[in-house]
Symmetry: D3
Subunit: 256 residues, 6 copies
């Protein structure tokens, strides 16, 4: 029963957590909106809005695979990520102008790629590469989790349109952040909360409720075993809701 | 009377130019839509749609100027441009991953910057840099001209919000492409037309109808004096219409 | 009681896990050897051997701080990581020759830096930067965790030698990998095990037994709540042992 | 009749333009000297001097074509450009040391390449690439136009020496700058004039008098329809003279 | 008789050179220790210690050759070099982070490669590349000569293990520095001496006593014909001793 | 008496060396021509022709010094080198386009810089940097030595024009190559000889006949003590002749 430990009133999280600056309950998601077919050129395209965070996720395909897969009959799914310069509060330097991607960018796009590959049957893809691009139009915290959530929908749409002989999509995958801010456990942190968080965790789970990735970091302070469990349980309940919205968006795209 | 030569039935352009593949008349623009405040973080932000071409133009400011202007009391306006990887028909390689911007990108962003600076009073800006970012979400020809057209609106909105003592905006600036395709002079080429063009010209003009930049290229074949005049006249009539829509968009942003 | 769930015979991990290819029990560390003062030039220097994995960890200092900390009175701890080309089974391309660090390298050095900063009081450091370099001389799995483990010892030695007025080291920090291989939960995976792992988790903990970082990845398959708990409990018991050896090594360095 | 509008005494350009700082009439070229076979290793080599501006133009060939032309039977002509560090008034940083070519350099070399390709029959070249290198030994304005003018001569010499079955050179191509300086229309601006120009235009034309490229920029102020026509007419008369000198130089090279 | 001129009491070097700061005679080597099989993954691996200077030399092989040798049946030996950031007195910036190798690094690795190739029969290697990596763990002067000396031992071990049909190793090669410091001719300069040297020379010789490379530099002052001869004679006597130790180390590796 | 050993008929070099492919005697230089003031913008400029090898050497100055000299009152002399793409027999890739300078280029420009600094009194320069650029217009062997020879003349001219209070030029410096080709000792190798050389040595000497740099390399085979002496003696006689021509060129520049 996900979330159980945290809901049972253990000493932590604090029983009477105050409302958040935007009025949300501690375990409430921001409004999530997934707009399929936001652009036409890619095979799949989704605008994923998580509160004020907006990410354009596109999926293009190519009839070849990277060298290390040539001759194996397996396909490949890979992801790239960027913050548009004007997406952040203060302008972010354009990585193409700087001549290299930051460590943060590389780390995020590796995470997105791994998360999607966890639910793809690469054999069923055949000799194809699917390029997933997540470009953040507006950033207000949680851009990596919104990228994964939106990218999966764009990927599902794209794979349907490929009309493969065998289903290549094993499950759905979604992601959310959780954190500890001033002693409270909070779900889906926005930028203002994230900047004050003592613990910041990103959780990626399948539609069936299993973990693909847990990344919990305490740059200030540390966290203990009970907190680890409470954080992941809280994330699990959030992802269950995200999964429903992802499925709905895929359904909408199918009808158009 | 702009356009006169071209309308007077000289041997060229051909009198009975066939309708275009999308049903437009030779001298008709695609539907132009300028959506102000598409995102919130920048000082000014506009989504500029020219037919299927969609460009997000944002303007951020910084309270400093580049080294070559330090101590002069003048401000600076500079622009950067990119094609998002999923914006094009076939995916474009991400320049940040490749480690450098292409010659085409640099050429376009230099053009955007020069065009905007032509209508800005840099002294009135004071010790400020305005960063203009044009990121193409969907590309269907004319991305550089849509970038200039949209960027000017975002810039006008941003400058109003700075509430400077002196007006820093001298005029408006807009841009359009013209070309010769299979012997016909066409205004506002989409990608399909552009790929077949013998002559391709980008024209940037002020709201008052003067040229800021004319760039006419014939990679296949050449063009003569009459064609040069007809092409620029046709562009001038298109930009007059664009100017009206730019002013309307600035007015809308003011009311919100 | 760390490790409890896992030891209590829940259905998973399997009760009768077979011995490992090197004869270790599932929850046994490889021999850990920390050789202080392996080189003389840096303020602190340690060769950290975890089985066949050997990492040279050095700490140098500089009397300045990065721009974002100037004027705050706080110091900085930052880390860099590399695999020497000859350290791996098949030669790894030299990143300096290639002209950039890989995403994997950047991700690892960011992790090392965060882990160390979690136990350092940056105010007590004053206007100093401590550069931690982890260069892998021989790689046999677990290079990032051996780096953290060894780097903390080198850092502790270096900080003692700085003879600061205030103690800058709040706690120790150590790291270990855990994973699921062929259904068995294993502690401290070597390269052969790591290559076959379904789940791969790196855990960073303080000497007091709290988490600094948990990174659990399932590129093949997924893992559930019970497994998450069992994995982190198993890691906790390993890190407790590592902590003892780290303290011993710091003591040795003090005596010389 | 090229130049007509401008010569007919319209209100602009001013009738009584003062002589220029070097004593030239407004529509006079600087002394143009084209020295064929300045170096021996390339297939074609020319030193092109336009007043104090000196550009070494060389053409080398390679028996292969870029990937996008493989299998088409077409050849390729491409150009590269640089300012030698000591060529300018104040030393220019070496781009090879800086690690990248500037936007200005890329823009110019793209222009040179396009201009030359406009007069080459790529089919007649067959599976060959011609590399055109324009290296500026001394810069005093007009380096891009002197590059095009000289490069065409080097190209013509090189193509003759290839002794192709079919003539690959369709026409000649030459270039010149025109501009508006303090209200006067001037041909072939030197650096001192260029630095003060309100409008700066580079015009590339074939020997037959058609446009290949017109690039007119007003970074300060704007220009109108009459000025556009006058500028291009003036350039046309200058290029007619350049064409004669180019043909003479090719003839000389033939005799040696 | 190498060293003769220098020992015969010519006016220079000075007859009564004072002992060196570490008590060595002017023509004495530092203690040289070559530890074979310092790491296991490469085909050959040696830790070469020359006084406080420590270099890890590894040799890996690859069953292919660079493009310029394809189809010739010849193999290739190439070398790379780096200073680990913590190896120097003051930390050296990591070249992989900086994005390029310094001129000094490239110069040294080219020297190492040339020196080794001088004693290798590349035909006997067949279609193989041997990658030699010299990574300096601790730097106290003479890192390039210690690299060559150690690399040859690692190469000899590696080539033996390849069990080629034909012997690919024609001779041994070793290297040493000599210099003029405050008027004295010194062999095997450490960092403190090197920093004060007027003339600095690196000499590479075969086991048979012939020169492979002489690089003598006078950044301060100059040197004359007699000094050139005395310097190279002194180096020759040092290399003779180094050769004996190299052969011993290869013998040790063979026995294990 | 430089060259004595070699002329005295020792067993090597061979007594009856055949004439060279261009008719030169073994110890003859190619025709050396130094044209001062080849370009006007730099403070000093020289075209140095050594047979078919042509190098443009320019010297520019800047009123500042690199960081490591700030506050010392010393000036700096630094050099950069390039092969123009069209200078070589087969076109060389442009390093600015490739994004980095080759190891060979860096090695050569470091050598040029060191050689010039050996004869400059950096204190007399004051807070100035002199940038020496050597750009090879045509390459036929010996480009590095022609660069040093020409660069010194350009430097001498530039320093005279600075009219410093104290003379900053201590001596002249010139360079030449020597080598062993098919058993013959040859002076001033051209490309055809260089490609076949067993030993290749570059020697840099002052006008007074002392060595600044000796770099002798045997990539094929080795050389012995007698050959080392013969090679450097032969180089010394060549440089004596070069010195006379350098002085003459400086005198010519003074008169204009």
């Amino acid at each position: 029963m996900p979330g159980a430990v945290w809901r049972l009133g253990l000493p932590w999280p604090r029983k009477e957590a105050s409302l958040r600056h935007d009025g949300r309950a501690p375990d409430a998601l921001r409004p999530l909106r997934i707009i399929p077919d936001f652009t036409d050129n890619p095979l799949g395209s989704v605008l994923c809005e998580m509160g004020r965070t907006k990410v354009l996720c596109t999926v293009c395909h190519e009839n070849s695979v990277p060298r290390f897969l040539q001759g194996t009959g397996q396909g490949w799914v890979t992801a790239e990520y960027s913050l548009l310069p004007g997406s952040t509060d203060t302008r972010s330097q354009r990585e193409a102008a700087r001549g290299k991607q930051s460590g943060r960018t590389l780390e995020i796009q590796r995470l997105i790629g791994r998360s999607l590959r966890a639910v793809v049957d690469q054999k069923a893809l055949g000799d194809r590469t699917l390029w997933v691009d997540c470009d953040v139009l507006q950033a207000d915290g949680g851009t990596r989790t919104a990228s994964i959530t939106g990218a999966w929908v764009a990927l599902a749409i794209a794979i349907e349109r490929l009309q493969l002989k065998q289903n290549a999509l094993v499950d759905s995958v979604g992601a959310i952040s959780v954190g500890v801010v001033a002693g409270d456990l909070l779900l889906d942190l926005d930028y203002r909360e994230d900047a004050r968080a003592d613990v910041d965790m990103n959780v990626v789970m399948t539609g069936q409720g299993n973990f693909v990735e847990v990344q919990g970091t305490a740059e200030q302070g540390t966290y203990d075993r009970d907190q680890l469990i409470a954080l992941t349980d809280c994330a699990a309940s959030g992802i269950a809701e995200i999964t429903r919205l992802q499925q709905k968006a895929v359904g909408e795209a199918r009808r158009t």
